[in-house]
C-alpha cells in the first residue's frame, strides 16, 4: 500500500475547502447551540441563502459581485429574523422545528420548476465566480514538500481560512466578554437571566443572526469554490454533519468546530483511501466488500468513531469534562 500518497491526499482534505466550509457552518452552530443553547437545525438554509445571494445577484440579475455578497449576508440576517421572531419567545423546541422545516423549504424553492428563471432549478446556477477569481493574487501553483496546490484552490483556501480565522477570533473575543457571559447564562437558565435585567430575546436574536451569517459565509465559500450553486448540496444532512463536527471537536469551545472539521475530513479521506488500497491489494476479500462499497463503509466507520468518542469523551476533543459531570448532578 502506498501510505505516502494516502497521507498526502488525506492531509489535503485536512486543510481543504470542505473542511473550511464545515468549519464555518459549525462555528455558526457553536455560537447558537454551543453557547446560547439554541437548536438551529437549519444551518443548511443559511448556507444556501448565502450561496444563492451571490449567484442570483451576479448571474440572474447581472449585478455586481460585491452587491451579491451584501445581499447574501443580508438574506441570512432576514432569514434569522424570520425564524427567530415567532419562535425565540417560546420553548427551545419550536426553533428546532421551524428551522428544520425552513431548511427544506429553502432547498425546495431553490430547485422548484416555477422558480427556475431566478434560481436555476435543480441544476442550480453557474457563472458568478469570475470577479472572485479575477482577484486571485496567486499566479502559479504552490509546491510545498509533496503537496502541490493550483492557483485557483490556493485562492479559495486563503480566503476560506482567512474567514475561519476571523470568525474564530470574533468568537474568542466575544465569549470572554460580558456579552458572551449573557449568552452562556441563557443556555443555563433564561428565566434567571431575565430576572437579572437582561433582554434574553434580544440576545438570542443576536446569537441566531450571527451564527446564521457565518453559515451564509460557508455557503458563499463553497459555491465560489465549485463555481456553481446547487440546491441539493444544502439538504438537512449538511446541518447534521456540521453538528457532528461541532460535537466531535467540542461544543462551546473556541477551536472545537475548526478542529472537528479538519479531523472529520481527514478521517473521511483516510478511511476511504485505505479501504480502496486494501481492496486493490486484496487484503480485504472481494466477497466482503469492493471498491463501490467504500463510500458507505467510511460513513459507517466514522459513525462508530463518533459513538465511541461520545461514550468515552462526551465533552468532545476540546471540551471540559467537569462541565459534563455537572449535568449528572
Amino acid at each position: 500500500m502506498d501510505w505516502g500518497s494516502i497521507f498526502e491526499l488525506s492531509i489535503r482534505e485536512l486543510i481543504g475547502v470542505q473542511a473550511i466550509v464545515f468549519a464555518l457552518a459549525a462555528i455558526g452552530i457553536n455560537i447558537q447551540f454551543g453557547y446560547t443553547g439554541l437548536l438551529n437545525f437549519g444551518q443548511a438554509a443559511f448556507a444556501a441563502v448565502g450561496g444563492y445571494g451571490v449567484a442570483v445577484i451576479v448571474t440572474t440579475y447581472e449585478m455586481s459581485f460585491w452587491l451579491g455578497i451584501v445581499v447574501a449576508i443580508g438574506a441570512a440576517v432576514v432569514l434569522a429574523l424570520l425564524l427567530g421572531v415567532p419562535t425565540l419567545r417560546l420553548r427551545a423546541d419550536y426553533l428546532a422545528i421551524v428551522t428544520i422545516a425552513a431548511s427544506e423549504i429553502v432547498r425546495l424553492v431553490g430547485r422548484s420548476a416555477w422558480g427556475r428563471d431566478v434560481f436555476g432549478g435543480s441544476d442550480g446556477i453557474t457563472g458568478f465566480s469570475d470577479t472572485f477569481y479575477d482577484l486571485n493574487p496567486f499566479t502559479e501553483p504552490l509546491e510545498f514538500g509533496p503537496f502541490e496546490f493550483r492557483e485557483r484552490i490556493l485562492w479559495v483556501m486563503a480566503v476560506g481560512w482567512g474567514l475561519v480565522a476571523l470568525c474564530t477570533l470574533m468568537v474568542w473575543l466575544l465569549m470572554r466578554s460580558p456579552w458572551g457571559r449573557v449568552l452562556k447564562a441563557i443556555r443555563e437558565d433564561e428565566d434567571a437571566v431575565r430576572s437579572l435585567g437582561k433582554n434574553v430575546y434580544g440576545y438570542k436574536m443576536q446569537s441566531l443572526v450571527m451564527g446564521g451569517v457565518i453559515g451564509a459565509l460557508a455557503g458563499i465559500v463553497y459555491s465560489l469554490f465549485q463555481g456553481a450553486m446547487q440546491p441539493d448540496v444544502y439538504a438537512t444532512n449538511f446541518t447534521f454533519f456540521a453538528y457532528a463536527i461541532l460535537i466531535l471537536g467540542g461544543a462551546a469551545t473556541v477551536f472545537g468546530p475548526v478542529l472537528g472539521a479538519a479531523i472529520v475530513w481527514f478521517a473521511f479521506q483516510f478511511i476511504d483511501l485505505t479501504l480502496r488500497a486494501a481492496i486493490t491489494n486484496e487484503y480485504i476479500p472481494d466477497w466482503l466488500m469492493n471498491q463501490n462499497d467504500t463510500g458507505a463503509v467510511r460513513f459507517m466507520l466514522t459513525g462508530v468513531v463518533l459513538v465511541l468518542l461520545l461514550v468515552f469523551r462526551p465533552q468532545g476533543i476540546l471540551g471540559d469534562r467537569r462541565e459534563i459531570a455537572l449535568d449528572a448532578r
Partner: protein, 368 residues
C-alpha cells in the same frame, strides 16, 4: 454589617416599625409610603383562581413577609408582579410607575428583583461569573463593544470587586472559581440572593430564601436579609417557617386561596385565631404537654385529621417517607378520637414533618 444597632433594634428597623405602627390591621391596608401597590390582580388557571388580590401595598424600607399555605398563590403573585406571568386583570405600580405588561428584564432594571422558589444557579458558569452577570448597565454586554475589551475592562474590574465583596458577606468567597453547579442546595440559595443584589435593586423579592438551608446558615441568611433593610432596600419574602417570619418581618401579609386574608405585625397576625386555625395549623405554637392535654379532650385529634386532609394531600408526592407513617389523609372524624395518647403526639410530629417537607420541595409553577 452596620454598626448602628442599638439594643437589638436598628435605626432602620425602628423607622420601618414606626411607619407601620398606625397602619390598620386589615387586608389591603394603606401604607404611609408604599413602594409597591397592586390593585385587583387576578390570575386564573382553568377553573382555578390562583391569585385574586384586591389591594395590597408594600411599605418602603420594611421587611414584609408573605405567608400562606401551599398553593395559596404566593409564587404566582410574585410571577405576576415581576412580569414572568401574565395577569388576567389588574394593575400594579412600583414607585408610582405602572408595571402592567412590563417584561421581566425591564422590571429588574427598574429596581425590582426576585429570586425563585426553585433555585436557578447557572450551573456551567463559575460563582464569580454568576455574580458578574447580575450587574446592570454593563458596557461589554453590547455586541460591538464586547469585542474590544479596552472599552469594558475597567467597569468589569469594578463589578468584580463588588461581587467579591458580596461573596465574602455570603461566605462564598472560597467558592469563587467553582462552577455554580457544584454548589450545595443551600449555597445555591445564597448565591442566588447575592446575585440578585448585584442588580442593586430597591425592592428584593425572595421566594422561600430559607428553604433547604441548614439552621446555622439560616441564622446568617436572616442577618443578610436584615442587612438589606439597613442598606435601605425593601424586602418582600415568602416563607413558611413562622419563627423566621416572627424574627425578621416588620409586617406580615397572609394569603389564602389567592386572596389577601390578613395583614399586620407578626405578633398580631400570628395570634389572629382565624389565621392560625386556617393557615398556620392550630397547634403550631403549643408545647407537647399542651398537645397531650388537648388530646385527652379529643379536640386536637379532630384538628389533626382535618389538617392532614389538607396538608397531607399537598405533601403527597414530595414526602413519601413522611406519608408512610402518617395517618392517611382521609382519616375520618370518628376514627380520630380513638387515637391513643402516644400515637396522637406522634401524629402531630409527623404533621409538622410533612409540612416541613412540603416547604422544602414546593415547586415553581409558571416560573417557566
Amino acid at each position: 454589617m452596620p454598626d448602628d444597632t442599638m439594643g437589638g433594634l436598628s435605626v432602620r428597623r425602628e423607622r420601618a416599625l414606626a411607619a407601620l405602627a398606625d397602619v390598620p390591621r386589615e387586608p389591603g391596608a394603606k401604607k404611609a409610603d408604599p413602594i409597591l401597590v397592586a390593585d385587583d390582580v387576578k390570575r386564573q388557571f382553568g377553573g382555578l383562581l390562583a391569585v385574586d388580590v384586591d389591594h395590597v401595598e408594600i411599605q418602603r424600607g420594611s421587611i414584609t413577609a408573605l405567608i400562606g399555605p401551599n398553593g395559596a398563590g404566593k409564587t404566582t403573585f410574585f410571577n405576576l408582579l415581576t412580569g414572568f406571568d401574565r395577569a388576567n386583570n389588574g394593575s400594579w405600580s412600583f414607585n408610582g410607575r405602572s408595571l402592567h405588561g412590563t417584561p421581566p428584564y425591564r422590571v429588574a432594571r427598574i429596581g425590582m428583583v426576585r429570586t425563585f422558589q426553585l433555585t436557578k444557579a447557572l450551573s456551567k458558569l463559575t460563582v464569580i461569573e454568576n455574580m458578574r452577570l447580575g450587574a446592570t448597565g454593563q458596557r461589554g454586554e453590547s455586541f460591538w463593544r464586547a469585542m474590544f475589551p479596552a472599552l469594558w475592562r475597567s467597569q468589569e474590574d469594578d463589578i468584580t470587586e463588588r461581587a467579591e465583596d458580596l461573596l465574602r458577606r455570603f461566605k462564598l468567597d472560597t467558592k469563587r472559581d467553582d462552577f455554580a453547579g457544584s454548589l450545595s442546595g443551600g449555597q445555591r440559595k445564597l448565591l442566588e440572593m447575592a446575585r440578585a443584589l448585584m442588580v442593586q435593586p430597591e425592592l428584593v423579592m425572595l421566594d422561600e430564601p430559607m428553604a433547604g438551608v441548614n439552621p446555622a446558615l439560616t441564622e446568617s441568611l436572616l442577618e443578610h436579609v436584615k442587612d438589606l433593610r439597613e442598606q435601605g432596600m425593601t424586602v418582600l419574602f415568602v416563607e413558611h417557617d413562622m419563627d423566621m417570619v416572627r424574627d425578621i418581618a416588620d409586617w406580615v401579609i397572609v394569603m389564602g386561596q389567592g386572596k389577601i386574608l390578613a395583614e399586620g405585625p407578626p405578633e398580631a397576625v400570628m395570634s389572629d385565631h382565624k389565621v392560625i386555625d386556617a393557615y398556620l395549623g392550630a397547634h403550631h405554637d403549643q408545647s407537647l404537654a399542651e398537645l397531650e392535654e388537648q388530646l385527652e379532650g379529643g379536640a386536637l385529634a379532630e384538628e389533626v385529621a382535618a389538617e392532614l386532609g389538607q396538608e397531607g394531600a399537598a405533601a403527597d408526592d414530595e414526602a413519601p417517607t413522611a406519608k408512610a407513617d402518617t395517618t392517611p389523609p382521609g382519616t375520618t372524624e370518628d376514627e380520630a378520637p380513638t387515637t391513643t395518647e402516644g400515637d396522637g403526639a406522634q401524629t402531630a410530629d409527623v404533621t409538622a414533618e410533612a409540612a416541613g417537607a412540603a416547604r422544602n420541595n414546593g415547586d415553581d409553577k409558571g416560573g417557566r
